[in-house]
């Protein structure tokens, strides 16, 4: 069974460890680079068609995708009731789950009612979120992951590190070693002459899993979309493992987050165009399956759908953060994020890593817990994630909003945080001109001293302040703070009468660059 993220350290601690792993950084840089290039090429292709006279480009498609998801969310209660009605009419059994424990119990109950001691699983983020595999294991039911990357993660007793490519942190040699060592413990062993060629490794996974597919009684899936109007669930995949799990078992249980609703079948269109291009960098993924409840004579004849909240209504109640529920789990934001590319997915301590994870986790779980509270800060706010997002989630806006929530949560702390003390001090100084003058004098003095002592300078010659002491040490550990100018603007104004008197006094070297811009 895979491990869990419970008890992970805060982001800066976990990221520091990840940054020290050169193999991991190599694997990540390669993989994110490849996938970014593939996506960019297809976005350009859509744009080129637009320039040739077609109505609508990539941005129009993003707007449509965002509008569809937003429309569903704005009327979520009505859409969910409609979905339930359509599913029931189509022969599915609809269950509701407030949290992970309820959802897990429903899946376990269904499996047990058929005497199953194993289930085959389609790759699904939501079942990882609720820890379904571990919950089933506790009930004596083995949950077999069938996506290649999930299989690698499961066999290695590892954690996923990417939404789309959970084993992105592993290279081919590592995968070969995992298959040779572990496959024999849970089923058909890997062939002894296994090489590290991806084609050979994929073939080994095919052989290993086929016996599980053919004998499986119960399949478990998530859903990429759930169409309210028709009661249709949609699974988007590549390998065919999804089709196997959705088609061959007698019983199918799908765990669906309530935010997956799409109002009408026609409105799936922009999402089906956006998702594969943003996700795997393909015009279309190899397989998309849609099904509406039970199809007589075709596929599972007993179909269950579990509609799951698990914090989604918390996110929905947050007026700034609710847009995160538009997420279609494409992982484009991970691939373009400079922080993710270097720190990798494990550092985020959640099945949802990267920029979307940095907002989704606090929105679902609420702020106030140390690890979760560290996530909104795992960003330089560069905005690349917003630009890449196919459903236009303004991730930087939500990050800043969540930082505010985290800070608000510490307003009454005693002793106060260093940042709060600094802000109080700044408020004291800026609220009165004579106080500000005093602070400026002190700052100018320290600037003269620090400027002389400084061993490094910014381009242009302005000296840096070097490493600060006290609570500020962590901040300057990774950044250069300019040495304070020896003269403040107000001092300069008084001395030169707003620049009308000749600037005769030679100013100390530390203000050279400022002098140039006057």
């Amino acid at each position: 069974m895979s491990g869990t993220f419970v008890g992970m350290p805060v982001f800066p601690t976990a990221a520091r460890a990840a940054l020290g792993d050169t193999q991991l950084r190599h694997n990540l840089a390669h993989a994110t680079g490849v996938i970014r290039a593939k996506r960019a090429k297809l976005v350009d292709e859509v744009e080129a068609a637009h320039a040739a006279g077609a109505p609508g480009g990539w941005e129009d498609l993003r707007l449509a995708g965002a509008a569809v998801k937003q429309r569903a969310l704005d009327d979520l209660a009505g859409q969910l009731e409609l979905l339930e009605e359509s599913l029931t009419k189509a022969g599915a059994v609809v269950h509701w789950a407030r949290d992970a424990a309820e959802a897990n119990a429903i899946v376990a109950r269904v499996a047990k009612s058929h005497g199953a001691d194993e289930v085959v699983k389609v790759k699904s983020m939501v079942t990882q979120e609720i820890g379904l595999n571990e919950a089933l294991e506790a009930e004596g039911i083995a949950a077999w992951e069938t996506d290649l990357a999930e299989l690698i993660v499961q066999l290695a007793d590892d954690l996923p590190s990417h939404i789309l490519v959970p084993a992105i942190h592993r290279n081919r040699a590592e995968v070969r070693e995992i298959f040779l060592r572990r496959m024999k413990d849970v089923g058909r062993p890997a062939p002894a002459d296994l090489t590290d060629e991806p084609k050979v490794l994929a073939a080994a996974a095919r052989e290993h899993l086929r016996e599980k597919f053919l004998r499986a009684k119960v399949g478990v899936s998530g859903a990429n979309f759930a169409v309210a109007e028709t009661g249709t669930l949609v699974v988007v995949e590549s390998e065919g493992n999804g089709r196997m799990c959705l088609t061959l078992p007698e019983v199918l249980v799908s765990v669906v987050g309530i935010e997956k609703v799409v109002p009408t079948f026609a409105e799936l269109d922009p999402l089906l165009r956006l998702l594969p291009r943003s996700s795997t960098g393909e015009r279309m993924n190899p397989y998309t399956s849609t099904w509406s409840g039970v199809t007589p004579g075709d596929g599972p004849q007993e179909v269950h759908v579990v509609l799951l909240d698990n914090g989604r209504t918390n996110a929905l109640a947050d007026q700034v953060g609710r847009q995160a529920l538009r997420c279609i789990r494409c992982s484009a934001c991970l691939n373009v994020c400079p922080v993710y590319e270097r720190a990798g997915g494990h550092a985020y301590g959640s099945v949802y890593p990267g920029p979307i994870g940095a907002i989704l986790n606090p929105l679902l779980k609420g702020t106030g817990e140390k690890q979760t509270d560290s996530l909104p800060y795992a960003s330089s706010l560069c905005g690349a994630c917003f630009e890449a997002c196919p459903v236009r989630i303004d991730i930087p806006e939500v990050l800043v909003h969540l930082r505010t929530k985290v800070v608000d949560g510490h307003r009454g702390d005693f002793p106060p945080k260093a940042e709060a003390v600094a802000m109080k001090g700044a408020a004291w100084a800026f609220s009165d001109a004579s106080r500000l003058g005093l602070v400026e004098k002190a700052s100018g003095l320290s600037g003269r001293v620090l400027g002389r002592l400084s061993k490094s300078a910014f381009p242009g010659g302005r000296p840096t302040a070097g490493r600060l002491a006290g609570p500020a040490v962590a901040w300057t550990g990774a950044r250069d703070l300019p040495a304070p100018p020896a003269e403040s603007f107000r001092q300069w104004w008084a001395r030169t009468d707003g620049g009308t008197r000749p600037d005769s006094t030679a100013t100390p070297s530390s203000t050279t660059t400022e002098g140039e811009t006057r």
Binding site: A67, R98, G240
Partner: protein, 219 residues
């Protein structure tokens, strides 16, 4: 679990107290220049894009379809023919395996060499074929478990892009039919983002594109 239902819906309603829903469906833009292109060009792009995903595509005359189909198999190969496949196509495979005497088990399907199906829609922009599993296309497992899928697509079934495909398929979905959208053979990029064709679904996809209006399912 009706308590859970009421709780979840109640939380949703109170979370959205400040929001007014939009009743009108979103009308997405057409993004492919192909939507305005002549039919011949659309078919060329369909062929190019299906091939792009390492599938085999051949354009065949309707009259020569059955004879050509016969050349695709080795003697003695067992091929699943779904109910509703035109009789001349079913007769063209070396050993036809049918479900006339009841459904095949997954293990029995695993033991056949190939499957021949018709399709519902082809999408040029994305190189996709869509099955709605009506007559001549078989239930979903038939085009999944065998290692080779030969799919007959009529030229008049090929549309420019996803919006037109969704419009054509809406009726089947409303009637409760499942859909399978297929873009090339099964594939994975899970190891170092290196694309490998052929995992769990058919490792070979063979598309036969035939002139319009000539091949249809039989009831």
């Amino acid at each position: 679990m009706s308590a859970a239902r009421e709780a979840v819906l109640g939380r949703v309603r109170s979370a959205l107290a400040d929001v007014t829903p939009t009743p009108e469906p979103v009308v997405p833009p057409i993004t492919s220049a192909l939507s305005a292109a002549p039919e011949g060009h659309v078919l060329d792009v369909f062929v190019e894009r299906v091939e792009d995903y390492k599938a085999v595509v051949e354009q065949v005359d309707a009259e020569g379809l059955a004879a050509h189909l016969a050349t695709l198999f080795e003697p003695g190969q067992r091929v699943v023919v779904p109910a509703g496949l035109p009789a001349e196509l079913a007769a063209a495979v070396p050993v036809a395996v049918t479900e006339d005497d009841g459904p095949l088990t997954a293990a029995e399907l695993d033991a056949v060499d190939a499957v021949v199906t018709l399709a519902a829609v082809g999408v040029a922009e994305t190189g996709t074929i869509v099955l709605d599993h009506s007559a001549g296309q078989g239930r979903r497992a038939l085009s999944l478990v065998p290692d080779r899928h030969v799919c007959v697509v009529r030229a008049d079934q090929v549309v420019a892009d996803v919006p037109e495909a969704v419009a054509r398929l809406a009726g089947a979905v409303s009637a409760g039919a499942p859909l399978t959208w297929i873009s090339g053979p099964s594939a994975t990029s899970d190891i170092e983002l290196d694309r490998v064709e052929g995992v769990h679904g058919p490792r070979t996809l063979h598309v036969l594109l035939v002139a319009a209006d000539t091949v249809g399912p039989v009831s």
